[in-house]
Amino acid sequence: MDDTKKLWENTLAEIEMNTSPANFNTWFKDTRILKKDSGAVFLSVPNAFVKDWLSSKHHGFILKILRGLSSDIRSLEYTIAPTDPKKKQELPTKVRTSPNRELPLEELYINKDDNLNPKYTFESLVVGPFNELAYAASQAVVKQPGLVYNPLFIYGNTGVGKTHLIQAIGNQIKNSYPEKRVHYVTSEKFAMDYIGSVQANKVNNFKEKYRKYDVLIMDDIQFLSSKEKTQEELFHLFNNIHDSNKQIIFSSDKHPNFIPDMEDRLKSRFSAGMIVDIPTPDHESRAAILRSKAKNLGIELAQEVVDFIVSSITTNVRELEGALNAISCHHQIKNKELTLGEVKNLLRHSSKPKKTLSVKEVARIVSDFYNMEENTIYEKTRKKEVIRPRQIVMFLLREDFGISYPSIGEKMGGRDHTTVIHSCEKIKAEMRHDSNLCKEIDQLRTMIN
C-alpha cells in the first residue's frame, strides 16, 4: 500500500512541476492510486469531470511519468471513488444547539443498494482460535472472489459472529473491487421477495435482480427450511451464479446436512465449496472480544471484572455485548469505575443461572435415552448394556456439573471413587475415536441443559 502511495506522490511532484498551479489543484487534488495490479495502475478520481479530463488530456503525460518511475507499468485506468475515507473522519463533529428534536434516524445507516452494514469490517472482528479457520477462509474468498471456496458456508450458534464475518467479506470485496456488485440478503427477505414477485406476477424481475450480482451473501439460510418453492428458486439461482464463477456466501446455525426439510440437491450444493464451523468462543477469545468492545465504548475494565463476565457468560457474544452495555450505562451515571461487587450485582440477572439437576434426573434422562430401567444404573450388575450408560452418567456428572469423584461414587450406589475416575477416563478416551458416542453425548447434553 505504502509503495503505491509513494509512487503517486512522486508522480504528482513531477506533474506539479509541469502544470500550472490552477490546473494542478483542480485536476490532481484528491487523486490516489487505488491499486496496482500486474502492470495496470488503477487511479481513483473524485468525479466524472476529472475522469473525462484526465483520460482525454493528460493520459499520455501521466503514463509517461509513471513509467519513468516504475518501468513495469503498462496501462492506466480511472475509477471514480469517494475521496480518501480517512479524510472524512477528520470532519469536525458539530455540537447541535438547536432546541428542535431530531428525527430518530441514527443507527439506521445501511447501504440500500447492497444491504451491507458498514460497521461490520474485518478490522472490528476479533480473531481467536475459535474462528481463525473461518477467518482464513473468508480472507481467501476476499482475495479471489468466486474462484476458491465457492460457495462458502459458515455455520455456528447464534451470537458467534457469523453475520459480522460475512458482512465483513462483502464490505471488503466492495472496497477492493469497486466494480463488483455485492448484495447481502437475509433468507427471510429473499423468501419474502420471492413471494412478492409471485404475487405481482414478476418472477422474471426477481430472477434478474438476483442474477446480476457478482457476490451474493445470504444470511440464516436455515429459515428456508420447508419453503419448497423458494428453495427451488434458490437452487436455480445458485446454479446460475455458481456457473458464472460468482461468489456465494451462506450462513446458517447448523451444518447443511442437519437443516431439516432442506432439499438434498441444495444440501449437496452447499457442501460443494467450503463448510466452516464457528464454535463458541473460548475463554481467552471471549476476554479479547470483551476488551475490544469495551475499548470501543471507551471504558476500562479491571482484569477481575473481565474474568468474571467472561466466565459467567460463556456462549453468546451478543450477551457479552449486553452485559457491557449495562456496565457502560452505569459507568456513565456514576462516573467512576465499577467494582467487581457492583458488576456482579448488575449481571445477576443477565448471566444465565446454572441449571441445577439432581443426580437422579441425570440418571433418568440417560436411562431413558438408552431405553433401560432407571434402577439398573444404581445396581451392582456388570452387564455391558448397563455399564456404558452408567459410565456416561458419571462422566456427565463430573464434566458438566463438577461433582467430586467420591460423592459421585456414593450417589451411584456406593461405588469407590477410583471406579468413577476410571469410568470418566474411559468415556473420554473413547470419545476421541468413537464419533457415535460423541453424538450421543452431545444429544444428552442438550437434553440435560
Binding site: 432546541p99 434516524l105 439506521l108 440500500k112
Partner: protein
C-alpha cells in the same frame, strides 16, 4: 470563428446556464466562462463548475465555425443590457471576441478554450418522464435538506424508484419531505443522492420546460436531457438513512384544516414568533379547540383559533414555525391533515386525498 444569432434566444440560454458559469473559481478561471462552440448553424453553449455541467443549443447562422471561452458574467450583463436589438454578430480572434449590433460594438477578452473541461456523458439506458414531473418532485422536497456539508447524504435529495413510482426525499434530521411521482414506464435504477444545490439548479433550468426529459443514471452521475438541453450532475456516494421506519403508521390526534387557513394562520403567528421560531399548537378535540400560539417576550403574544375537524386525544405541542410553513407550497390539495402522536413524536402533514406528498416535522423540546 464568426456567427450571427437572435439576441433573445441567446440571452435565454445563457441566463439558464448563467449561475453555473458566473461562480468565480479562483482555481481554474476558465470555469467562470461559457464555452461557445459554433458549427453547422448551431451554437453549443457549455458551462460547468465541475459539480454540475450544462450544455445548451441555440440556432445561429454560422459563417466560420470555431470555439471561444467567454467570461460568463460579462457576457450576460452585456447582452442583457443591450436595448432594442434583434441580432448580434460574433467574431472571435486572438484572445478576444467582438460583438456587433446595430448600435453597439463590444470587445470581450476570452480565455483559452482548450482549458475548458468536457461535460461527461452518462452511459446508461435512459427513462423518460415529463420534465415538469421531475421538477415538481425536486421542488417538493429539496428545501428539507441541510446546507451543512458535514453529512453529504443529508445535503442531498434522495431519488429512488419504488415499483411504479419515482420517489424524491430529503431530510435535515429535523424534518423530512417525501414526494412520489407516478412513472409511465417503470425503471429500476436503485437509488441516487443528488446534491441539493444541483437539484435547485436543475429545477431552475428545467422549470417551464414542456415535453419529456430523458433521465440517465449511472453510479456516479445523473444526466437529464430535454430538447437541446443537457444537464449532468455528480452524485453523492453515501447512504441515505432508512427513513421509512420512522414514518408513524397510526396517530392519536388528527386535525383536518383548509390549506389556505393554515397558511394564513402561520403568517399571522410569525409576527410574534421568538428567536427560536417557536409555535405552540393546542388541539383539544372534545372541546373543539385548535389554537396556534406564538409568544415573544419583547413584542407580545398572539393566539389564533383555526377552524378544523378534530379527532383523537388532547395534545399541546411546540414546533419550529419555519419548518411547518416550508411544506405549504408542496401541498396541492385544498384540505390538509395534521396528524400527531405524542409530544416527542413527529407530526405528519399530508394533503387530504393526496398520497403523493408526505411531510414529517419533529417537535421542539420544552
Amino acid at each position: 470563428m464568426k456567427f450571427e444569432c437572435i439576441k433573445d434566444k441567446l440571452l435565454d440560454a445563457i441566463t439558464k446556464a448563467g449561475k453555473i458559469a458566473t461562480n468565480r473559481n479562483p482555481g481554474l478561471p476558465v470555469l467562470s466562462c461559457f464555452l461557445l462552440e459554433n458549427k453547422n448553424n448551431r451554437l453549443i453553449i457549455k458551462a460547468t463548475n465541475l459539480d454540475i455541467g450544462i450544455r445548451l443549443e441555440v440556432p445561429v447562422k454560422t459563417e466560420t465555425p470555431g470555439v471561444v471561452a467567454v467570461p460568463g458574467e460579462v457576457l450576460i450583463n452585456l447582452i442583457g443590457n443591450l436595448p432594442e436589438t434583434k441580432n448580434i454578430k460574433f467574431e472571435g480572434s486572438n484572445g478576444e471576441v467582438k460583438l456587433t449590433t446595430n448600435k453597439n460594438f463590444a470587445t470581450i477578452k476570452t480565455k483559452d478554450p482548450n482549458d475548458f473541461p468536457s461535460i461527461p456523458e452518462t452511459k446508461s439506458e435512459p427513462f423518460n418522464m415529463p420534465a415538469s414531473d421531475f421538477v415538481n418532485g425536486l421542488k417538493a422536497v429539496w428545501y428539507s435538506s441541510t446546507q451543512s456539508s458535514i453529512k453529504p447524504e443529508l445535503s442531498s435529495v434522495f431519488i429512488y424508484s419504488d415499483s411504479e413510482d419515482l420517489v424524491f426525499a430529503a431530510t435535515d434530521s429535523f424534518r423530512l419531505a417525501e414526494k412520489r411521482i407516478k412513472l409511465k414506464q417503470s425503471k429500476d435504477f436503485g437509488n441516487v443522492l443528488l446534491p441539493y444545490k444541483n437539484a435547485l439548479e436543475i429545477t431552475r433550468i428545467l422549470d417551464g420546460e414542456g415535453g419529456d426529459v430523458s433521465v440517465f443514471i449511472d453510479k456516479n452521475q445523473i444526466s437529464l436531457s430535454s430538447g437541446g438541453t443537457y444537464i449532468t450532475s455528480r452524485l453523492v456516494d453515501s447512504t441515505f438513512p432508512d427513513y421509512k421506519q420512522i414514518i408513524p403508521k397510526e396517530f392519536e390526534t388528527e386535525a383536518v384544516v383548509l390549506r389556505q387557513d393554515l397558511a394564513s394562520s402561520l403568517k399571522l403567528a410569525n409576527v410574534m414568533s421568538d428567536k427560536f421560531n417557536q409555535i405552540n399548537l393546542v388541539i383539544y378535540p372534545v372541546k373543539k379547540v385548535f389554537e396556534m400560539k406564538t409568544k415573544n417576550t419583547e413584542l407580545g403574544e398572539n393566539i389564533y383559533s383555526i377552524d378544523a375537524a378534530l379527532s383523537g386525544k388532547d395534545i399541546d405541542i411546540s414546533f419550529n414555525l419555519k419548518y411547518v410553513s416550508d411544506c405549504l407550497n408542496s401541498l396541492t390539495a385544498d384540505s390538509v391533515s395534521v396528524s400527531l402522536n405524542d409530544v416527542s413524536k413527529p407530526m405528519v402533514i399530508r394533503g387530504v386525498g393526496d398520497k403523493s406528498f408526505l411531510y414529517l416535522v419533529m417537535p421542539m423540546n420544552r
